[in-house]
């Protein structure tokens, strides 16, 4: 691929507009990390398998390594930086903390984004459903068991108290 002319685009990320100059081939994940300076979204494989770069676009999960930044004009992008409200962990983040659902943490933002979306539509998921949904995110440290446990716990917490915010 040859260098292309940069274009000015507006990215709406976590409710804020970012005017950025990007080549049309620039990946969304690179634009988020380099141009918006939001480095919480990680690059693990650049071919859509590992799930580390998962973000939400208009509320649905998207691999930001398989998406061009220029495609995102007019869409709402949400990244890991938007999940905790003013330093308060979301129920899912809190449960991952309590159940030791992360180790090196590199895959964690992708998993959090995947299940922030998943839990909105699955208030009482079974272990099988969780494992199936989690199979789109590779984790090399945890063996997944504590992640599954944390997601179950978060779901329970959110059912009991929909307005729950972690202490």
């Amino acid at each position: 691929m040859r260098a292309m002319e940069k274009r000015s685009i507006t990215l709406t990320v976590n409710g804020q507009n970012h005017e950025v100059m990007v080549e049309p081939r620039k990946l969304l994940v690179d634009a988020l990390r380099e141009d918006c300076r939001l480095t919480g979204t990680h690059v693990g494989c650049e071919h859509g398998v590992c799930g580390a770069c998962t973000v939400l676009v208009d509320g649905s999960t998207v691999r930001s390594c398989l998406t061009y930044a220029i495609q995102m004009e007019g869409h709402e992008v949400s990244t890991i930086e938007s999940v905790d409200a003013g330093g308060k962990l979301s129920p899912l983040q809190q449960a991952l903390h309590e159940e030791h659902g992360l180790q090196c943490g590199f895959c964690t933002p992708g998993i959090v984004m995947t299940f922030e979306a998943f839990l909105k539509h699955h208030s009482d998921p079974s272990e099988d459903e969780i494992r199936e949904a989690l199979s789109g995110n590779l984790c090399r440290c945890t063996g997944y068991q504590n992640i599954v446990k944390a997601i179950q716990k978060a779901a329970e917490q959110m059912r009991k108290n929909p307005d729950y915010v972690a202490p």
Binding site: V43, S135, G143
Partner: protein, 790 residues
């Protein structure tokens, strides 16, 4: 937790690292902002073995944003060559260029490096660098490597046999002659790779004014790494700072100084501009360290009752093209600890390590991973050939508690291990006899269930005396410092390099216990060579025993001084009746600990700000430093029991229960240890089922994407049931043993044995991995064909 003698060690506390990692505020290498940094991208060989006839970078240099293109010839001026030549018997020395000058040795070998203002532009330019190659025949298998007619991977060496070591203890041949039977088994483990989710990467910032290099890199051994990096750049260790903040997994892949990293450092210094590099996944699969790939054979001389009389081991390992570690480094440990929980003194080994045109091998979580499969696969083979119950054969041969400490045939000493206890606990938990009943009933219905057993004796912490005895240069010691600040705040550091284990949490427990403050108030500062003391970093399972023990001892020194000051203040003759607990000085009166008015903060204030109030002759401040060399070796042990169902029609494996009883001594943080157990088992199962770096016959790597190199997801892995046992090691401070690799060893063996057990009625024995449906179907089909013929 069952550590009544400890107050803080073993507490169930969540991790300190989590907040930043959960909120996207970790600082991995690629998150570090360096203004106007240039980007490096490597030109890599498309051939497994070829002479470099010429490199033409003109077209690349004319492209937008390209600053320079450097080759092996440039690096030869700026860096020294690597020489891997420890004085080990049977090992050939190897020298390597920083980047290849005359020939490439594997597909993906870096031949040039493009430096540009932007990563995208650097990648564009890489495609325009023309390299002329004369393609040479490749060495793509162990068998071929050993053939004298084959090409030599390193032409400076007389053959591809980089290491050959043998030892005979007792007389195993004589035992075979006397034996009722000699049972022979073979085992082939396939090539795998560590696959941290964060690939490699680095940033080099050269300060021309100070003549100083700041090097950001995710690394497990920051100080030894700095020593090598400085040396190869002809700089002093005062001129290099290595910073390794958050690291997205290592598993052994982030230890040695890679040629790409040295290149980036040298170019940054040459250009006097910061340069950064982030490896992509293709490069990680093609050119980052790989592991395993060996062929092993055991010959067990046994009595009719199944008693093991003598054992022979042969290993051939494919080490790849370059010696980033001594060639014997990985396989020799397998040979030394093979017999593990079993009593046998007549034992010999023959270990050959060969070079091939593949990526150079490195230690991957459990470099000795195959050990337990070898030994426990051999035990199953004995049971199978003699028609005995596999558990009975193990019970007959396993060490009894009264036989400990036990000196293995190789001279390795096992102490404070409990293999019988873990085996019986795991068997009881799974309900062994009930399983056999169920297995029988299900077989009658055409359902093939199997149960695999694997007892692991895991070598965890390698002390300096082990290295010396094994003829390996280097040290197994660790270093720590601890500072109580004037406010009473507690800072500490150790030379380990964290890659996600949770050291900031687990090691805080060790400091807390030694000092007498809550772990939550202890802050660990890791991964910065100007801040941390010179330690040997993270390898094997040494973090707990080497790192934790050093910090614990250092913190005990600190508590001593705090109490001496407190005793002086309280007008006591000595400090024997005092202790620090939760940051408050307590005094023993009538067998009861009573709080005094003094806190750690009071003592700290005195130590720093009112030194004339200190006991006579005591120096001001509360700063402590400690080094500690662990015993030659510490061992943990465990037993894995795995239930599977194998579908004959498809060769698919489905897990039933997976139970592990593990005794890893005193546990600093049960939260962190459980996480390590899960992760290790998962890595073992994933490797045994899916992961496979495949090279074809001309040395082309066929596994360059995660669609080819498959890793277990949450969907394929079972739920792990863990039974925790805690027999302390009596020769380490606080009884710590170390752990984190045994799970890999146990999983590999338990799964293979379970599949064999399931397919026993067909006479099928798996002797290679991965256990893919295609492989199992092939064996099942062959079995049916031979039955039909008969």
């Amino acid at each position: 937790m069952s550590h009544p003698e400890f107050h803080y060690i073993g507490q169930h506390l969540p991790r300190k690292e989590d907040y930043r990692l959960l909120t996207g505020r970790g600082r991995y290498v690629d998150d570090v902002e360096v203004p106007s940094a240039l980007h490096a991208c490597f030109v890599r060989s498309p051939h497994a073995h070829a002479r470099i006839l010429g490199i033409d970078a003109q077209a690349a240099l004319e492209m937008p944003g390209v600053v320079t293109v450097v080759t092996g010839a440039d690096l030869a001026l700026w860096t020294t060559r690597q020489r891997m030549a420890p004085p080990i018997e049977g090992l050939q020395a190897m020298e390597m260029d920083t980047l290849p000058v005359s020939k490439v040795r594997f597909q993906g070998d870096p031949v040039a490096c493009v430096i540009a203002t932007d990563r995208y532009l650097a990648e564009d330019a890489v495609e325009q660098v023309r390299v002329d190659y004369e393609v040479l025949p490749a060495v793509s298998s162990m068998c071929q490597a050993l053939d004298p007619a084959s090409p030599r991977v390193d032409e400076a060496l007389p053959s591809n046999l980089i290491s050959h070591q043998q030892a005979i203890h007792g007389d195993p041949k004589a035992r075979q002659r006397e034996a009722y039977k000699t049972v022979e088994s073979t085992f082939s483990m396939h090539r795998q790779t560590h696959l941290p989710i964060e690939t490699r990467g680095c940033i080099a910032v050269w300060d021309e004014g100070r003549q100083h290099l700041t090097f950001h890199v995710g690394n497990q051994v920051p100080h030894p790494y700095r020593t090598t990096l400085a040396g190869r750049l002809r700089l002093s260790e005062s001129q290099v700072t290595v910073i390794s903040q958050d690291v997205g997994g290592g598993f052994g892949q982030k230890i040695a100084l890679y040629r790409e990293e040295l290149t980036v450092a040298a170019v940054a210094r040459h250009l006097k501009r910061p340069v950064r590099w982030r490896e992509d996944r293709l490069e990680n699969l093609l050119a980052s360290s790989q592991a395993r790939e060996n062929f092993c054979r055991t010959r067990a001389a046994v009595s009719a009752e199944g008693r093991l009389l003598g054992l022979e081991l042969e290993i051939i390992e494919d080490f790849g093209a370059y010696s980033f570690y001594p060639g014997n480094y990985l396989a020799r440990v397998v040979a030394m600890i093979l017999t593990g929980p079993y009593k046998v003194q007549d034992y010999s080994y023959d270990v050959k390590v060969v070079l091939s045109n593949k990526v150079g091998n490195g230690p991957m979580r459990a470099p000795m991973a195959i050990t337990s499969w070898l030994m426990e696969g051999t035990m199953d083979a004995i049971a199978r050939e003699l028609g005995l119950d596999p558990v009975a054969v193990r019970r007959l041969n396993m060490l009894h508690p009264h036989e400990l400490p036990y000196t293995m045939a190789t001279g390795e000493v096992l102490a404070d291990i409990t293999p019988r206890e873990t085996m019986e606990a795991a068997l009881a938990a799974i309900g062994y006899e009930d399983f056999r009943q169920r297995q029988k009933q299900m077989r009658a219905q055409g359902v093939y269930l199997g149960l695999g057993l694997c007892t692991v004796v895991e070598s965890t912490t390698y002390g300096s005396r082990f290295y010396k005895a094994a003829g390996i240069p280097g040290s197994g010691h660790e270093a720590a410092w601890l500072r109580i600040e004037p406010s009473g705040a507690v800072n500490a550091s150790v030379g380990l390099g964290a890659t996600g284990q949770g050291y900031e949490t687990s090691l805080a427990h060790a400091v807390a216990e030694g000092l007498g403050v809550a772990p939550q108030l202890v802050h660990l500062h890791l991964g910065h060579t100007d801040i941390a003391p010179y330690g040997m970093g993270s390898r094997g399972a040494r973090g707990g025993t080497a790192g934790g023990s050093t910090l614990y001892l250092c913190a005990r020194d600190a508590q001593d001084k705090v109490l001496l000051i407190a005793a002086h203040h309280l007008g006591l003759v000595d400090h024997t009746s005092l202790r620090l607990r939760d940051g408050r000085v307590e005094q023993l009166a009538h067998d009861e600990w009573m709080a005094t008015d003094l806190t750690l903060a009071d003592v700290a204030r005195t130590a720093y700000l009112d030194p004339t109030a200190l006991p006579q002759g005591m120096s001001p401040g509360l700063e402590f430093h400690k080094t500690y060399d662990p015993p030659p070796m510490t061992y943990s042990n465990s037993t894995h029991v795995c239930e599977v169902e194998v579908a004959l029609a498809t060769g698919a494996i489905r897990f039933g229960r997976y139970v592990v009883a593990e005794d890893c001594g005193t546990v600093l943080s049960p939260v962190v240890v459980e996480g390590q157990q899960h992760g290790a088992i998962a890595m073992g199962l994933s490797g045994s089922l899916f992961e496979h770096i495949v090279y074809d016959e001309i040395g082309q790597n066929l596994s360059g994407t995660l669609a080819d190199y498959l890793v277990a997801t949450a969907h394929e892995l079972p739920h792990f049931e863990i039974i925790s046992m805690h027999t302390p090691n009596r020769s380490t401070p606080a009884g710590i043993k170390g752990m984190a690799e045994g799970g890999v060893m146990g999983a590999i063996g338990a799964l293979s044995n379970a599949v064999n057990d399931a397919l026993a009625p067909l006479g099928v024995v798996v002797n290679e991995q991965p256990l893919t449906p295609m492989y199992l179907r092939g064996l099942i089909r062959k079995s049916f064909q031979s039955t039909n013929k008969a």
